[in-house]
Amino acid sequence: MTEFSPTTAFRLVRRLAAIGQDKASLYLLICDTAAIQAVQADIAAEVEVQLGVRLQAFAAEEVRPDKLEDVFTRDGGSPVTLIALHRWIAELVRALDRNIVLLTGTGAVLLLANHKAAEQTLRAAPNLRSRLTDILTISPDEAFRGVPA
Protein backbone atom coordinates (compact mmCIF):
# COMPACT_ATOMS: atom_id res chain seq x y z
CA MET A 1 0.00 0.00 0.00
CA THR A 2 1.23 3.47 -0.84
CA GLU A 3 2.47 5.47 2.12
CA PHE A 4 0.28 8.15 3.69
CA SER A 5 0.89 10.44 6.67
CA PRO A 6 0.27 8.79 10.05
CA THR A 7 -2.03 10.21 12.67
CA THR A 8 -3.93 9.32 15.85
CA ALA A 9 -7.49 9.98 16.91
CA PHE A 10 -6.27 12.79 19.15
CA ARG A 11 -4.43 14.59 16.34
CA LEU A 12 -7.19 14.04 13.83
CA VAL A 13 -9.84 15.53 16.08
CA ARG A 14 -7.53 18.39 17.00
CA ARG A 15 -7.35 19.10 13.31
CA LEU A 16 -11.14 19.09 13.03
CA ALA A 17 -11.32 21.45 15.97
CA ALA A 18 -8.75 23.77 14.40
CA ILE A 19 -10.69 24.21 11.16
CA GLY A 20 -14.06 24.27 12.92
CA GLN A 21 -16.19 21.16 13.36
CA ASP A 22 -19.03 22.53 11.26
CA LYS A 23 -16.75 23.12 8.27
CA ALA A 24 -17.05 20.54 5.50
CA SER A 25 -14.21 18.04 5.45
CA LEU A 26 -13.84 14.49 4.21
CA TYR A 27 -11.12 12.13 5.38
CA LEU A 28 -10.14 8.62 4.37
CA LEU A 29 -8.53 6.95 7.38
CA ILE A 30 -6.63 3.74 6.79
CA CYS A 31 -5.84 1.17 9.46
CA ASP A 32 -5.44 -2.56 9.98
CA THR A 33 -8.67 -4.53 10.03
CA ALA A 34 -8.02 -5.67 13.57
CA ALA A 35 -7.64 -2.08 14.78
CA ILE A 36 -10.78 -0.59 13.22
CA GLN A 37 -12.92 -1.02 16.30
CA ALA A 38 -10.30 0.42 18.65
CA VAL A 39 -9.64 3.38 16.37
CA GLN A 40 -13.36 4.06 16.10
CA ALA A 41 -13.65 4.05 19.90
CA ASP A 42 -10.68 6.42 20.17
CA ILE A 43 -12.20 8.82 17.67
CA ALA A 44 -15.57 8.72 19.43
CA ALA A 45 -13.90 9.55 22.74
CA GLU A 46 -11.82 12.39 21.27
CA VAL A 47 -14.82 13.86 19.47
CA GLU A 48 -16.71 13.91 22.73
CA VAL A 49 -13.86 15.42 24.74
CA GLN A 50 -12.45 17.91 22.23
CA LEU A 51 -15.57 18.90 20.35
CA GLY A 52 -18.21 18.21 22.95
CA VAL A 53 -20.45 16.30 20.55
CA ARG A 54 -21.34 12.69 19.96
CA LEU A 55 -19.79 10.88 17.01
CA GLN A 56 -22.37 9.53 14.58
CA ALA A 57 -20.88 6.17 13.60
CA PHE A 58 -22.07 3.44 11.24
CA ALA A 59 -20.71 0.17 10.01
CA ALA A 60 -20.72 0.26 6.21
CA GLU A 61 -23.13 -2.68 6.17
CA GLU A 62 -25.70 -0.54 8.00
CA VAL A 63 -25.69 2.21 5.37
CA ARG A 64 -28.16 1.70 2.56
CA PRO A 65 -26.72 2.97 -0.73
CA ASP A 66 -30.17 4.20 -1.77
CA LYS A 67 -30.74 6.00 1.53
CA LEU A 68 -27.55 8.03 1.98
CA GLU A 69 -29.59 11.06 2.96
CA ASP A 70 -30.55 9.24 6.18
CA VAL A 71 -26.88 9.31 7.19
CA PHE A 72 -25.70 12.61 5.79
CA THR A 73 -28.62 14.96 6.28
CA ARG A 74 -27.64 16.71 9.47
CA ASP A 75 -30.74 18.35 10.78
CA GLY A 76 -29.47 18.98 14.26
CA GLY A 77 -27.48 15.74 14.21
CA SER A 78 -23.82 15.27 15.01
CA PRO A 79 -21.39 17.32 12.91
CA VAL A 80 -18.98 14.36 12.75
CA THR A 81 -19.97 11.19 10.91
CA LEU A 82 -17.86 8.06 10.66
CA ILE A 83 -18.44 5.08 8.37
CA ALA A 84 -16.34 2.01 9.08
CA LEU A 85 -15.53 -0.10 6.03
CA HIS A 86 -14.40 -3.47 7.35
CA ARG A 87 -14.55 -4.80 3.83
CA TRP A 88 -14.99 -3.57 0.31
CA ILE A 89 -18.63 -2.84 -0.51
CA ALA A 90 -18.67 -1.76 -4.13
CA GLU A 91 -22.30 -0.68 -4.24
CA LEU A 92 -21.95 1.63 -1.25
CA VAL A 93 -18.73 3.23 -2.46
CA ARG A 94 -20.19 3.86 -5.90
CA ALA A 95 -23.23 5.44 -4.28
CA LEU A 96 -20.98 7.68 -2.18
CA ASP A 97 -19.05 8.65 -5.30
CA ARG A 98 -22.09 9.56 -7.36
CA ASN A 99 -23.87 11.35 -4.53
CA ILE A 100 -20.73 13.01 -3.23
CA VAL A 101 -22.45 16.35 -2.64
CA LEU A 102 -24.36 14.76 0.24
CA LEU A 103 -21.03 14.16 2.01
CA THR A 104 -19.62 17.60 1.45
CA GLY A 105 -22.37 19.88 2.70
CA THR A 106 -21.34 20.61 6.26
CA GLY A 107 -19.43 18.86 9.02
CA ALA A 108 -16.76 16.21 8.94
CA VAL A 109 -17.13 12.82 7.28
CA LEU A 110 -14.60 10.15 8.24
CA LEU A 111 -14.33 6.99 6.16
CA LEU A 112 -12.41 4.46 8.23
CA ALA A 113 -11.24 1.54 6.11
CA ASN A 114 -8.77 -1.29 6.11
CA HIS A 115 -5.96 -1.15 3.56
CA LYS A 116 -7.70 -3.21 0.91
CA ALA A 117 -11.03 -1.40 1.14
CA ALA A 118 -9.23 1.96 1.09
CA GLU A 119 -7.27 1.03 -2.02
CA GLN A 120 -10.38 -0.16 -3.82
CA THR A 121 -12.29 2.96 -2.75
CA LEU A 122 -9.62 5.23 -4.18
CA ARG A 123 -9.61 3.25 -7.40
CA ALA A 124 -13.37 3.08 -7.86
CA ALA A 125 -14.47 6.49 -6.63
CA PRO A 126 -12.74 9.33 -8.50
CA ASN A 127 -15.21 12.02 -7.39
CA LEU A 128 -14.75 11.06 -3.77
CA ARG A 129 -10.97 10.87 -4.11
CA SER A 130 -10.86 14.31 -5.65
CA ARG A 131 -12.78 15.82 -2.74
CA LEU A 132 -10.88 14.16 0.09
CA THR A 133 -9.45 16.65 2.51
CA ASP A 134 -6.74 14.13 3.32
CA ILE A 135 -5.83 10.46 3.42
CA LEU A 136 -4.18 9.36 6.65
CA THR A 137 -3.06 6.13 8.22
CA ILE A 138 -4.37 5.87 11.74
CA SER A 139 -3.53 3.59 14.64
CA PRO A 140 -5.03 3.09 18.08
CA ASP A 141 -3.63 5.61 20.54
CA GLU A 142 -1.73 3.12 22.72
CA ALA A 143 0.05 1.66 19.69
CA PHE A 144 1.16 5.04 18.46
CA ARG A 145 4.60 5.84 19.77
CA GLY A 146 7.51 7.86 18.47
CA VAL A 147 5.84 9.46 15.45
CA PRO A 148 6.50 13.19 15.38
CA ALA A 149 3.49 15.43 16.01
Binding site: I19, A24, L68, T104, E119, R123, P126
Partner: protein, 423 residues
Amino acid sequence: METDSKPGAVAFDRRQVYRPFLERLNPIGSQGLLANGLIVAPEHDPRDAGQPPIHVAFANTAELTRGSQMALVGGIGSGKTTELRLTEKVLNRHSDAVNVLVDLADYTDLNEISTGAILASAGMRLYSRVRLRLKKAGTELPEAVKAANRTLRELAFGKTNWVRQPPEPYDYEPDYEESYVPVKVPGVMKLRFPALRREVAEILDQFVRIASPLLDDEAQITLLVDGLDRLIKPELFREFAEQDLQALKGTKVSVIIVAPLLLWYDKSRFLQDYFDLVKHIPAAAADPQHSDFLRQILERRGARDLIDGAEITTIAKYSGGVLRDLLTLARSSAEYAYRDDEDRISRRHVNAAIKQLGNRYLVGLGNTHKRLLRRLSDDGGFPIENSTAKELLVNRQVLEYFSGGRESFVVHPALAKVLPKPA
Protein backbone atom coordinates in the same frame (compact mmCIF):
# COMPACT_ATOMS: atom_id res chain seq x y z
CA MET B 1 -0.33 27.01 20.20
CA GLU B 2 2.48 29.33 21.25
CA THR B 3 1.92 32.01 23.83
CA ASP B 4 4.19 34.57 25.39
CA SER B 5 3.79 34.36 29.15
CA LYS B 6 5.26 37.80 29.89
CA PRO B 7 2.74 40.11 31.56
CA GLY B 8 1.12 42.43 29.04
CA ALA B 9 2.58 40.58 26.04
CA VAL B 10 0.30 39.93 23.08
CA ALA B 11 -0.37 36.21 22.85
CA PHE B 12 0.62 34.69 19.53
CA ASP B 13 -1.86 32.15 18.27
CA ARG B 14 -0.62 30.34 15.17
CA ARG B 15 -4.09 29.04 14.44
CA GLN B 16 -5.08 32.58 13.54
CA VAL B 17 -2.31 32.60 10.92
CA TYR B 18 -3.50 29.49 9.13
CA ARG B 19 -7.20 29.16 9.90
CA PRO B 20 -8.48 31.97 7.63
CA PHE B 21 -6.23 30.76 4.81
CA LEU B 22 -7.45 27.16 5.18
CA GLU B 23 -11.06 28.26 5.23
CA ARG B 24 -10.58 30.10 1.96
CA LEU B 25 -8.91 27.03 0.46
CA ASN B 26 -11.47 24.40 1.36
CA PRO B 27 -11.84 22.61 -1.98
CA ILE B 28 -15.08 20.91 -0.99
CA GLY B 29 -16.91 23.73 0.69
CA SER B 30 -17.19 26.08 -2.23
CA GLN B 31 -20.70 27.42 -1.70
CA GLY B 32 -19.68 30.83 -0.38
CA LEU B 33 -16.78 31.45 -2.74
CA LEU B 34 -18.66 33.63 -5.20
CA ALA B 35 -20.25 35.72 -2.48
CA ASN B 36 -16.89 36.20 -0.79
CA GLY B 37 -15.20 37.30 -4.00
CA LEU B 38 -12.76 34.39 -3.95
CA ILE B 39 -13.39 33.15 -7.47
CA VAL B 40 -11.05 34.30 -10.19
CA ALA B 41 -13.18 34.31 -13.31
CA PRO B 42 -11.31 33.13 -16.43
CA GLU B 43 -10.69 35.91 -18.95
CA HIS B 44 -11.37 33.82 -22.03
CA ASP B 45 -12.43 30.40 -23.25
CA PRO B 46 -9.73 27.96 -22.06
CA ARG B 47 -9.53 26.46 -25.55
CA ASP B 48 -9.50 29.71 -27.47
CA ALA B 49 -8.07 32.98 -26.14
CA GLY B 50 -10.04 34.85 -28.79
CA GLN B 51 -13.39 33.70 -27.43
CA PRO B 52 -15.23 34.96 -24.34
CA PRO B 53 -15.05 32.88 -21.16
CA ILE B 54 -17.37 29.90 -20.98
CA HIS B 55 -19.80 31.45 -18.50
CA VAL B 56 -20.19 34.53 -20.69
CA ALA B 57 -20.72 32.42 -23.83
CA PHE B 58 -23.35 30.32 -22.04
CA ALA B 59 -25.15 33.36 -20.64
CA ASN B 60 -25.14 35.14 -24.01
CA THR B 61 -26.62 32.08 -25.72
CA ALA B 62 -29.32 31.62 -23.07
CA GLU B 63 -30.22 35.30 -23.26
CA LEU B 64 -30.39 35.52 -27.02
CA THR B 65 -31.88 32.12 -27.87
CA ARG B 66 -34.44 31.01 -25.31
CA GLY B 67 -34.76 27.26 -25.24
CA SER B 68 -31.16 26.62 -26.27
CA GLN B 69 -29.44 23.58 -24.79
CA MET B 70 -25.79 23.68 -23.79
CA ALA B 71 -23.36 21.17 -22.34
CA LEU B 72 -20.24 21.61 -20.26
CA VAL B 73 -17.60 18.90 -19.98
CA GLY B 74 -14.40 18.76 -18.01
CA GLY B 75 -12.48 16.46 -15.74
CA ILE B 76 -13.13 16.08 -12.03
CA GLY B 77 -12.07 19.21 -10.15
CA SER B 78 -11.68 21.29 -13.30
CA GLY B 79 -14.10 23.99 -12.16
CA LYS B 80 -17.38 23.01 -13.83
CA THR B 81 -19.56 23.90 -10.85
CA THR B 82 -17.76 27.23 -10.59
CA GLU B 83 -18.52 27.92 -14.27
CA LEU B 84 -22.21 27.17 -13.63
CA ARG B 85 -22.25 29.56 -10.69
CA LEU B 86 -20.51 32.24 -12.73
CA THR B 87 -23.02 31.71 -15.54
CA GLU B 88 -25.88 32.07 -13.08
CA LYS B 89 -24.36 35.31 -11.82
CA VAL B 90 -24.07 36.73 -15.34
CA LEU B 91 -27.63 35.69 -16.20
CA ASN B 92 -28.89 37.56 -13.15
CA ARG B 93 -28.02 40.87 -14.83
CA HIS B 94 -31.54 40.83 -16.28
CA SER B 95 -34.42 41.35 -13.90
CA ASP B 96 -36.65 38.85 -15.73
CA ALA B 97 -34.07 36.06 -15.41
CA VAL B 98 -35.18 32.99 -13.48
CA ASN B 99 -32.26 30.66 -12.97
CA VAL B 100 -32.58 27.26 -11.39
CA LEU B 101 -29.26 25.66 -10.44
CA VAL B 102 -29.60 22.07 -9.25
CA ASP B 103 -27.18 19.35 -8.34
CA LEU B 104 -29.31 16.31 -9.01
CA ALA B 105 -27.74 14.41 -6.12
CA ASP B 106 -29.40 16.90 -3.78
CA TYR B 107 -32.80 15.70 -4.98
CA THR B 108 -32.46 12.16 -6.17
CA ASP B 109 -30.32 9.10 -5.68
CA LEU B 110 -27.93 9.10 -8.61
CA ASN B 111 -27.65 5.31 -8.43
CA GLU B 112 -31.27 4.74 -9.21
CA ILE B 113 -31.96 7.85 -11.23
CA SER B 114 -34.49 7.37 -13.98
CA THR B 115 -35.52 9.47 -16.91
CA GLY B 116 -37.85 12.28 -15.94
CA ALA B 117 -35.78 13.00 -12.81
CA ILE B 118 -34.15 16.13 -14.24
CA LEU B 119 -37.49 17.55 -15.28
CA ALA B 120 -39.09 16.67 -11.97
CA SER B 121 -36.27 18.19 -9.87
CA ALA B 122 -36.20 21.32 -12.00
CA GLY B 123 -39.99 21.58 -11.89
CA MET B 124 -40.08 21.44 -8.10
CA ARG B 125 -37.38 24.09 -7.81
CA LEU B 126 -39.11 26.22 -10.39
CA TYR B 127 -42.36 26.01 -8.43
CA SER B 128 -40.67 27.62 -5.42
CA ARG B 129 -39.38 30.40 -7.65
CA VAL B 130 -42.77 31.00 -9.27
CA ARG B 131 -44.46 31.11 -5.87
CA LEU B 132 -41.92 33.60 -4.53
CA ARG B 133 -42.09 35.77 -7.60
CA LEU B 134 -45.88 35.97 -7.59
CA LYS B 135 -45.92 36.62 -3.85
CA LYS B 136 -43.52 39.55 -4.31
CA ALA B 137 -45.76 40.89 -7.06
CA GLY B 138 -48.79 40.50 -4.77
CA THR B 139 -50.40 38.03 -7.17
CA GLU B 140 -52.20 34.90 -6.08
CA LEU B 141 -50.65 31.63 -7.22
CA PRO B 142 -53.02 30.13 -9.81
CA GLU B 143 -54.79 26.97 -8.67
CA ALA B 144 -53.63 25.20 -11.86
CA VAL B 145 -49.99 25.78 -10.88
CA LYS B 146 -50.58 24.45 -7.36
CA ALA B 147 -52.28 21.39 -8.79
CA ALA B 148 -49.45 20.85 -11.26
CA ASN B 149 -46.96 20.93 -8.41
CA ARG B 150 -48.98 18.36 -6.46
CA THR B 151 -49.15 16.07 -9.48
CA LEU B 152 -45.46 16.57 -10.20
CA ARG B 153 -44.55 15.56 -6.66
CA GLU B 154 -46.71 12.46 -6.95
CA LEU B 155 -45.03 11.57 -10.22
CA ALA B 156 -41.61 12.20 -8.72
CA PHE B 157 -42.00 10.47 -5.38
CA GLY B 158 -44.88 8.10 -6.13
CA LYS B 159 -48.16 7.70 -4.28
CA THR B 160 -50.45 5.00 -2.98
CA ASN B 161 -53.82 4.57 -4.64
CA TRP B 162 -56.59 2.47 -3.12
CA VAL B 163 -58.40 0.60 -5.87
CA ARG B 164 -61.24 -1.86 -5.75
CA GLN B 165 -60.05 -5.40 -6.35
CA PRO B 166 -61.82 -6.80 -9.44
CA PRO B 167 -63.65 -10.12 -8.86
CA GLU B 168 -61.85 -13.27 -9.97
CA PRO B 169 -63.30 -14.33 -13.34
CA TYR B 170 -64.90 -17.77 -13.49
CA ASP B 171 -63.27 -20.14 -15.87
CA TYR B 172 -66.47 -20.80 -17.78
CA GLU B 173 -68.32 -17.53 -17.49
CA PRO B 174 -71.31 -17.59 -19.87
CA ASP B 175 -71.09 -13.81 -20.63
CA TYR B 176 -67.35 -13.92 -21.29
CA GLU B 177 -66.38 -11.63 -24.15
CA GLU B 178 -63.23 -11.99 -26.14
CA SER B 179 -60.82 -9.10 -25.46
CA TYR B 180 -58.29 -7.52 -27.78
CA VAL B 181 -54.53 -7.65 -27.34
CA PRO B 182 -52.35 -4.91 -28.87
CA VAL B 183 -49.93 -6.03 -31.57
CA LYS B 184 -47.37 -3.44 -32.67
CA VAL B 185 -46.67 -3.05 -36.37
CA PRO B 186 -43.31 -1.28 -36.72
CA GLY B 187 -43.03 1.66 -39.10
CA VAL B 188 -40.28 2.13 -41.64
CA MET B 189 -38.87 5.33 -40.18
CA LYS B 190 -36.38 5.20 -37.36
CA LEU B 191 -36.80 8.18 -35.02
CA ARG B 192 -33.70 10.26 -34.51
CA PHE B 193 -34.49 10.31 -30.82
CA PRO B 194 -36.62 7.72 -29.07
CA ALA B 195 -40.21 8.70 -28.34
CA LEU B 196 -40.82 10.34 -24.98
CA ARG B 197 -41.72 7.83 -22.33
CA ARG B 198 -45.20 8.22 -20.90
CA GLU B 199 -43.97 9.28 -17.46
CA VAL B 200 -41.58 11.86 -18.94
CA ALA B 201 -44.39 13.32 -21.05
CA GLU B 202 -46.60 13.53 -17.93
CA ILE B 203 -43.86 15.26 -15.94
CA LEU B 204 -43.28 17.67 -18.83
CA ASP B 205 -46.98 18.62 -18.78
CA GLN B 206 -46.76 19.54 -15.11
CA PHE B 207 -43.44 21.33 -15.60
CA VAL B 208 -44.89 23.51 -18.35
CA ARG B 209 -47.96 24.31 -16.23
CA ILE B 210 -45.71 25.39 -13.34
CA ALA B 211 -43.55 27.49 -15.66
CA SER B 212 -46.54 29.06 -17.44
CA PRO B 213 -46.82 32.23 -15.27
CA LEU B 214 -43.17 32.95 -16.09
CA LEU B 215 -43.38 31.95 -19.73
CA ASP B 216 -46.50 34.09 -20.17
CA ASP B 217 -44.45 37.04 -18.90
CA GLU B 218 -41.72 36.24 -21.44
CA ALA B 219 -39.29 35.57 -18.57
CA GLN B 220 -35.88 34.15 -19.32
CA ILE B 221 -35.76 30.73 -17.63
CA THR B 222 -32.50 28.81 -17.47
CA LEU B 223 -31.92 25.45 -15.84
CA LEU B 224 -28.34 24.82 -14.77
CA VAL B 225 -27.95 21.13 -14.02
CA ASP B 226 -24.91 19.82 -12.18
CA GLY B 227 -23.99 16.30 -11.10
CA LEU B 228 -24.76 14.13 -14.10
CA ASP B 229 -21.08 14.02 -15.04
CA ARG B 230 -20.73 11.70 -12.05
CA LEU B 231 -22.67 9.06 -13.94
CA ILE B 232 -19.37 8.73 -15.84
CA LYS B 233 -20.81 6.22 -18.35
CA PRO B 234 -21.79 8.18 -21.46
CA GLU B 235 -24.78 5.95 -22.29
CA LEU B 236 -26.53 6.82 -19.01
CA PHE B 237 -26.20 10.52 -19.68
CA ARG B 238 -27.36 10.05 -23.23
CA GLU B 239 -30.58 8.46 -22.02
CA PHE B 240 -31.39 11.62 -20.07
CA ALA B 241 -30.59 13.88 -22.97
CA GLU B 242 -32.86 11.87 -25.23
CA GLN B 243 -35.75 12.04 -22.77
CA ASP B 244 -35.64 14.93 -20.29
CA LEU B 245 -33.76 17.41 -22.42
CA GLN B 246 -35.53 16.43 -25.62
CA ALA B 247 -38.83 17.01 -23.79
CA LEU B 248 -37.78 20.58 -22.97
CA LYS B 249 -37.09 21.48 -26.59
CA GLY B 250 -39.64 23.99 -27.76
CA THR B 251 -40.54 25.17 -24.24
CA LYS B 252 -38.33 28.29 -24.33
CA VAL B 253 -36.58 27.04 -21.20
CA SER B 254 -32.81 27.01 -21.70
CA VAL B 255 -30.64 24.28 -20.23
CA ILE B 256 -26.98 24.20 -19.32
CA ILE B 257 -25.94 20.75 -18.18
CA VAL B 258 -22.69 19.22 -17.01
CA ALA B 259 -21.92 16.06 -19.01
CA PRO B 260 -19.43 13.23 -18.44
CA LEU B 261 -15.94 13.92 -19.79
CA LEU B 262 -15.90 10.68 -21.75
CA LEU B 263 -18.63 11.98 -24.04
CA TRP B 264 -16.17 14.58 -25.25
CA TYR B 265 -14.01 11.78 -26.59
CA ASP B 266 -16.91 9.63 -27.80
CA LYS B 267 -16.68 8.73 -31.45
CA SER B 268 -20.43 9.16 -31.92
CA ARG B 269 -20.05 12.94 -31.47
CA PHE B 270 -23.34 12.86 -29.59
CA LEU B 271 -22.59 16.03 -27.60
CA GLN B 272 -21.68 18.04 -30.64
CA ASP B 273 -24.69 16.78 -32.58
CA TYR B 274 -27.28 17.10 -29.85
CA PHE B 275 -26.42 20.36 -28.07
CA ASP B 276 -26.52 23.88 -29.46
CA LEU B 277 -23.30 24.76 -27.69
CA VAL B 278 -20.71 22.52 -26.05
CA LYS B 279 -17.81 23.79 -23.98
CA HIS B 280 -14.87 21.85 -22.64
CA ILE B 281 -12.70 22.85 -19.70
CA PRO B 282 -9.27 21.25 -20.13
CA ALA B 283 -6.75 21.34 -17.31
CA ALA B 284 -5.55 24.94 -16.93
CA ALA B 285 -2.10 25.95 -18.10
CA ALA B 286 0.07 25.18 -15.09
CA ASP B 287 3.18 26.93 -16.38
CA PRO B 288 3.22 30.50 -15.03
CA GLN B 289 4.99 31.61 -18.23
CA HIS B 290 1.83 30.77 -20.15
CA SER B 291 -0.81 31.87 -17.68
CA ASP B 292 -1.09 33.62 -14.36
CA PHE B 293 -4.52 32.14 -13.66
CA LEU B 294 -3.52 29.55 -11.05
CA ARG B 295 -1.26 31.94 -9.20
CA GLN B 296 -4.09 34.47 -9.05
CA ILE B 297 -6.42 31.87 -7.53
CA LEU B 298 -3.98 31.29 -4.67
CA GLU B 299 -3.15 34.95 -4.21
CA ARG B 300 -6.83 35.87 -4.06
CA ARG B 301 -7.04 33.52 -1.07
CA GLY B 302 -4.14 35.17 0.72
CA ALA B 303 -1.26 32.88 -0.29
CA ARG B 304 1.21 35.76 -0.50
CA ASP B 305 1.00 36.23 3.28
CA LEU B 306 2.23 32.68 3.89
CA ILE B 307 4.04 31.38 0.80
CA ASP B 308 6.91 32.76 -1.25
CA GLY B 309 6.46 33.26 -4.98
CA ALA B 310 8.67 30.31 -5.93
CA GLU B 311 6.61 27.93 -3.80
CA ILE B 312 3.37 29.29 -5.25
CA THR B 313 4.77 28.52 -8.69
CA THR B 314 5.67 24.99 -7.58
CA ILE B 315 2.17 24.40 -6.21
CA ALA B 316 0.65 25.65 -9.48
CA LYS B 317 2.95 23.44 -11.52
CA TYR B 318 2.25 20.25 -9.57
CA SER B 319 -1.48 20.83 -9.51
CA GLY B 320 -1.34 20.08 -13.21
CA GLY B 321 -3.89 22.84 -13.70
CA VAL B 322 -6.60 20.91 -11.85
CA LEU B 323 -8.22 23.62 -9.75
CA ARG B 324 -9.27 21.36 -6.90
CA ASP B 325 -5.75 19.90 -6.72
CA LEU B 326 -4.33 23.41 -6.62
CA LEU B 327 -6.39 24.14 -3.52
CA THR B 328 -5.63 20.72 -2.03
CA LEU B 329 -1.88 21.25 -2.43
CA ALA B 330 -1.97 24.70 -0.88
CA ARG B 331 -4.11 23.42 1.95
CA SER B 332 -1.93 20.40 2.69
CA SER B 333 1.20 22.57 2.58
CA ALA B 334 -0.36 24.90 5.14
CA GLU B 335 -1.30 21.98 7.38
CA TYR B 336 2.24 20.59 7.23
CA ALA B 337 3.64 24.01 8.15
CA TYR B 338 1.19 24.33 11.05
CA ARG B 339 2.14 20.86 12.26
CA ASP B 340 5.81 21.90 12.19
CA ASP B 341 4.98 25.01 14.26
CA GLU B 342 6.22 27.30 11.50
CA ASP B 343 4.76 30.64 10.56
CA ARG B 344 5.36 30.32 6.82
CA ILE B 345 5.00 27.54 4.30
CA SER B 346 8.39 26.42 3.01
CA ARG B 347 9.58 24.25 0.12
CA ARG B 348 9.69 21.24 2.44
CA HIS B 349 5.97 21.54 3.23
CA VAL B 350 5.08 21.99 -0.42
CA ASN B 351 7.11 18.92 -1.37
CA ALA B 352 5.38 16.85 1.31
CA ALA B 353 2.00 17.97 -0.01
CA ILE B 354 2.96 17.08 -3.59
CA LYS B 355 4.05 13.63 -2.48
CA GLN B 356 0.79 13.13 -0.61
CA LEU B 357 -1.26 14.15 -3.65
CA GLY B 358 0.84 11.97 -5.94
CA ASN B 359 0.28 9.01 -3.64
CA ARG B 360 -3.47 9.52 -3.85
CA TYR B 361 -3.25 9.09 -7.59
CA LEU B 362 -0.82 6.20 -7.33
CA VAL B 363 -3.00 3.99 -5.15
CA GLY B 364 -4.71 1.21 -7.00
CA LEU B 365 -2.78 1.52 -10.26
CA GLY B 366 -2.07 -1.85 -11.83
CA ASN B 367 0.75 -2.78 -14.18
CA THR B 368 -1.32 -2.01 -17.28
CA HIS B 369 -2.06 1.47 -15.98
CA LYS B 370 1.59 2.06 -15.12
CA ARG B 371 2.73 0.88 -18.56
CA LEU B 372 0.38 3.34 -20.24
CA LEU B 373 1.54 6.16 -17.98
CA ARG B 374 5.20 5.43 -18.71
CA ARG B 375 4.53 5.30 -22.41
CA LEU B 376 2.79 8.66 -22.20
CA SER B 377 5.70 10.14 -20.25
CA ASP B 378 8.30 8.68 -22.64
CA ASP B 379 6.87 9.34 -26.07
CA GLY B 380 3.57 11.16 -25.59
CA GLY B 381 1.55 8.21 -26.86
CA PHE B 382 -1.90 7.85 -25.31
CA PRO B 383 -4.52 5.57 -26.94
CA ILE B 384 -7.68 7.42 -25.90
CA GLU B 385 -9.94 4.69 -27.33
CA ASN B 386 -8.43 2.17 -24.93
CA SER B 387 -10.63 1.51 -21.85
CA THR B 388 -7.67 1.68 -19.44
CA ALA B 389 -6.64 5.00 -20.96
CA LYS B 390 -10.18 6.30 -20.48
CA GLU B 391 -10.10 5.17 -16.87
CA LEU B 392 -6.84 7.07 -16.30
CA LEU B 393 -8.36 10.17 -17.83
CA VAL B 394 -11.57 10.00 -15.78
CA ASN B 395 -9.57 9.39 -12.60
CA ARG B 396 -7.33 12.39 -13.43
CA GLN B 397 -4.14 10.37 -13.43
CA VAL B 398 -3.84 11.66 -16.96
CA LEU B 399 -4.79 15.24 -17.75
CA GLU B 400 -5.95 16.70 -21.01
CA TYR B 401 -4.61 20.04 -22.19
CA PHE B 402 -5.47 22.22 -25.12
CA SER B 403 -3.00 24.69 -26.45
CA GLY B 404 -2.32 26.26 -29.81
CA GLY B 405 -5.27 24.42 -31.34
CA ARG B 406 -3.89 21.05 -30.27
CA GLU B 407 -5.06 18.57 -27.68
CA SER B 408 -2.46 16.74 -25.64
CA PHE B 409 -2.35 14.35 -22.70
CA VAL B 410 0.11 14.44 -19.81
CA VAL B 411 0.60 12.32 -16.69
CA HIS B 412 -0.57 14.32 -13.65
CA PRO B 413 2.69 15.98 -12.49
CA ALA B 414 2.17 15.01 -8.82
CA LEU B 415 1.67 11.39 -9.86
CA ALA B 416 4.66 11.54 -12.22
CA LYS B 417 6.79 12.58 -9.26
CA VAL B 418 5.96 9.46 -7.23
CA LEU B 419 5.45 6.96 -10.05
CA PRO B 420 7.99 4.16 -9.48
CA LYS B 421 10.55 3.60 -12.20
CA PRO B 422 10.33 0.20 -13.92
CA ALA B 423 12.56 -2.44 -12.32
